[in-house]
């Protein structure tokens, strides 16, 4: 019986998928803009030091910064031209960040460093990791954790299962979907590299069932490879969240406060996997990415390859501009994405999509008192009690909040989505987490 059960996790919800805007649209290359703004920090971890100064000429793929420490990755020039300014600039994650602004000379000249290496599979795992770091690769699903760090598990935590995350459970977004359909072989080549680095045999490509063409494609290119399986997952949000994905596939639960490696798993996003291949085989650092520009608020929704550092407004102009009634600009998907107050911020490594919502879709409702309907409890994929956590956070009862697992919240937003009383549960919880972290940092 159990064998027939659809693979998934306990909890979750079904926000409207809204993939129709772009799921059938082939990835298009957006021409490089006049100017790019490249923030020196686009990943989670230590910042980087600029290697160029105003007036320098750079070519595509030139490294612009030096990582400070192990948990850090450099950034690269995404156009050829002249560095015209290095200054603190608005960043899609909120705060201003030191950024390098390059005026495009229109020549699209490549750096000498960008050259193919046919024998990349002969490199040692050590060398592979080094190259992945220097190519500036960080998780492209949105988390932007430096990939080489993820690929360096300690010896006492061997990885036996590599999971390639093609779930793309965020509504609207189709960048990973299209990448799987159009670059399936490169993803497989990327898998081979990770397999070699980790010495892992078992690899599972996990795709939600609403992408039959991607499933078919990936099955096709892996047919003769016994180490790779493609698994179709039930369509449910947040199926693509690391812990939920691991549970669905291996039935293992990442312990609270732990990492996937604690249960022998490693999860890589499909876009990142492809970037690994491009970095090693083509010598191409992460200076462009696939991103979905979509939603009811944009004239021509598209899947695009965009140079890192392209301003949102340029991307939006390329997609025909806004529709009149646009009211929200979000980096990422509607469930976990970040609302922007300006389109004057650049595309970064973690920009999986730009979502434009109109007034009609942005339902603003005043929160009512909790009516105890249990929906947030029954849908929380981390089995938390969101309404209680939010209450603890609101009343600054942080000790209890921690006891009730507030730090385990993955901020998926499912609780807020389902709440019929329209309570801002995640907002309260996030605030509570922030305060707790702050207190901890002060204490140490």
């Amino acid at each position: 019986m159990l064998g027939f059960k659809e693979r998934t996790f306990h909890g979750g919800a079904h926000p409207p998928e809204a993939k129709k805007y772009t799921e059938k649209k082939p990835i298009e290359k957006m021409p490089a803009p006049e100017q790019v703004v490249i923030p020196l920090q686009q990943h989670i971890g230590a910042p980087t030091e600029p290697l160029v100064k105003v007036g320098d000429r750079v070519k595509i793929g030139d490294r612009l910064s030096e990582p400070k420490g192990f948990v850090s990755v450099p950034v690269h020039a995404s156009v050829s031209g002249k560095v015209v300014k290095i200054a603190e600039m608005p960043h899609p994650l909120g705060k201003k960040v030191l950024s390098i602004i390059i005026q495009n000379d229109g020549e699209d000249a490549f750096s000498e460093a960008v050259r193919p290496d046919e024998n990349y599979m002969d490199l040692s795992p050590e060398e592979m990791r080094k190259r992945i770091q220097m190519a500036g690769i960080a998780g492209m699903g949105g988390a932007t954790f430096p990939t080489h760090v993820k690929l360096s598990p300690p010896a006492e935590k061997p990885i036996d299962t590599l999971i390639i995350n093609g779930a793309e459970c965020e509504p609207y977004l189709t960048a990973d979907h299209r990448t799987m359909v159009e670059f399936s072989e490169e993803i497989v080549a990327g898998i081979k590299i990770i397999q070699k680095i980790l010495g892992v045999k078992r690899t599972i490509i996990a795709i939600e069932k609403n992408k039959p063409d991607a499933i078919k494609k990936m099955r096709g290119v892996t047919r003769n490879d016994s180490s790779i399986d493609v698994i179709a997952l039930k369509v449910k949000y947040p199926q693509g969240a690391e812990k939920q994905l691991i549970k669905a596939i291996t039935n293992r639960e990442v312990p609270t406060g732990g990492l996937p490696m604690d249960v022998g798993c490693l999860v890589q996003n499909v876009g990142t996997t492809r970037a690994i291949y491009e970095a090693l085989a083509r010598g191409k650092p992460l200076y462009e990415r696939v991103t979905t520009v979509t939603g009811p608020g944009i004239k021509e929704p598209k899947n695009l390859i965009v140079r890192i550092g392209t301003l949102f407004k340029d991307v939006i102009a390329y997609c025909g501009g806004y529709r009149e009634d646009v009211s929200k600009l979000i980096m990422g998907g509607p469930m976990m994405g970040l609302a922007q107050h300006t389109d004057d911020v650049p595309v970064i490594k973690g920009t999986s999509g730009l979502l434009l919502l109109t007034e009609k879709y942005v339902r603003v409702a005043d929160p009512m008192p909790c009516i105890g309907c249990n929906r947030c409890v029954d849908t929380c994929p981390m089995h938390l009690v969101p309404t209680t956590l939010a209450e603890f956070a609101d009343f600054k009862r942080y000790v209890e909040a921690e006891k009730w697992g507030i730090m385990d919240c993955i901020e998926c937003g499912t609780c807020t989505f389902v709440c019929p009383a329209k309570r801002h549960l995640l907002q309260s919880i996030r605030f509570g987490k922030y305060e707790i972290n702050l207190q901890k940092r002060k204490a140490s």
Partner: protein
């Protein structure tokens, strides 16, 4: 382009369901029973329901106005309370009872605690308990024989709900020596008749409160709520299961395991309580295991009251009492967090 965007914390989309919609579904789910009650007990059943609903809604609006709170009658929760309160009354109550009950339910049991979401006990049940204490006769004498027949022979005994009959007959059988022989045999045959009356109890043509008699119609409404995922199986099923098991074990005339558990499930307010009162969102536990304990606890109390207490019916009191345990249940039944290893 200088455009002002809305900025807010994720998620940026919300489900379409809201509190009003949920309440409207509950009302829809109660309609079959209301129609049934009107059919069995006549137009007066509808009249009583109209009075309680009106009283509840007006009270809500007036109290909120007086307390300078926003008036929230459009969330339909007062209507739900009104209908449930009416369902817990005989159809023949004097007209002022529904009105007083509605005022009590909303003003005292709900708004005094801060309104929807803050009331510790179910307002309709609180009001029923109040009415029962203040007008015990009016609330327990069922003068209207249901259309489609009552249980034959039962009218011979004064108060005519099946539960009363069961309780009185059992009392007689347990103390046979105190009664005349024909009384004893009457009681015996009454119990046998009740056994044959499952059909009546299921369809609802028996004496009782105006919305509680038909298990069938209640289940019909409950099916809608379950399908819409407005109520969860845990409370009703753990409650019914507990009632059934305990009634079977202790409810019989001839020692352990001779009780008529089917009768106990179908008779009185158990069905209505299980699906519409115990499941009241505000006053039931949040956690999955808390909901099971809640149902089991209410089940135990119901059977205790029914078999050993002073009332033939224990549903509403048992739920009221369990309502009070909800904060505790919530506190001690935190679900196991994903990835948490419980030490034990």
């Amino acid at each position: 382009m200088d455009k002002l965007f809305r900025v807010s914390s994720s998620p940026h989309v919300l489900d379409r369901d809201n509190v009003s919609k949920i309440m409207i579904y509950v009302i829809l789910a109660l309609l079959p029973s209301l129609i049934g009650g009107t059919y069995f007990f006549g137009w007066r059943a509808l009249w009583v329901t109209a009075l309680t609903v009106l009283s509840c809604v007006v009270t809500e609006a007036v109290v909120q106005k007086m307390m300078n709170r926003p008036v929230t009658i459009t969330d339909w929760s007062a209507v739900v309370t009104g209908i449930l309160l009416a369902f817990n009354m005989p159809s023949n109550v004097p007209f002022y009872l529904p009105i007083v009950g509605g005022v009590f339910a909303i003003a005292i049991a709900k708004q005094a605690f801060g309104g929807l979401g803050f009331n510790p006990v179910n307002p309709a049940l609180a009001a029923r308990a109040f009415l029962l204490a203040s007008w015990p006769i009016d609330m327990t004498v069922f003068k209207v024989a249901p259309r489609g027949g009552t249980l034959s022979g039962i009218d011979a005994i004064t108060t005519a709900t099946p539960l009363n009959v069961m309780k009185q007959s059992l009392d007689i059988l347990k103390h046979q020596s105190n009664y005349a022989v024909e009384k004893v045999s009457q009681a015996q045959s009454a119990i046998l008749q009740l056994k044959e009356a499952y059909g009546h109890l299921f369809w609802g043509n028996v004496g009782g409160c105006l919305g509680e008699t038909s298990a069938f119609l209640i289940l019909l409404g409950a099916a809608l709520l379950m399908y819409k995922r407005i109520i969860d199986w845990r409370i009703p099923f753990s409650y019914l299961f507990t009632v059934a098991v305990l009634a079977w074990m202790f409810g019989g005339p001839s020692g352990l395991f001779s009780g008529d558990w089917i009768f106990h499930l179908l008779a009185g307010g158990v069905m209505l309580g299980a699906f519409f009162m115990a499941t009241d969102m505000v006053t039931s536990p949040l956690t999955p295991s808390g909901r099971i304990y809640f149902g089991v606890g209410a089940g135990i109390l119901t059977v205790i009251i029914r078999l050993w207490g002073g009332y033939p019916e224990g549903t509403s009191y048992s739920i009221l009492l369990m309502n009070l345990t909800v904060p505790l249940l919530n506190r001690y039944t935190r679900p196991r967090i994903f990835g948490e290893r419980r030490r034990k």
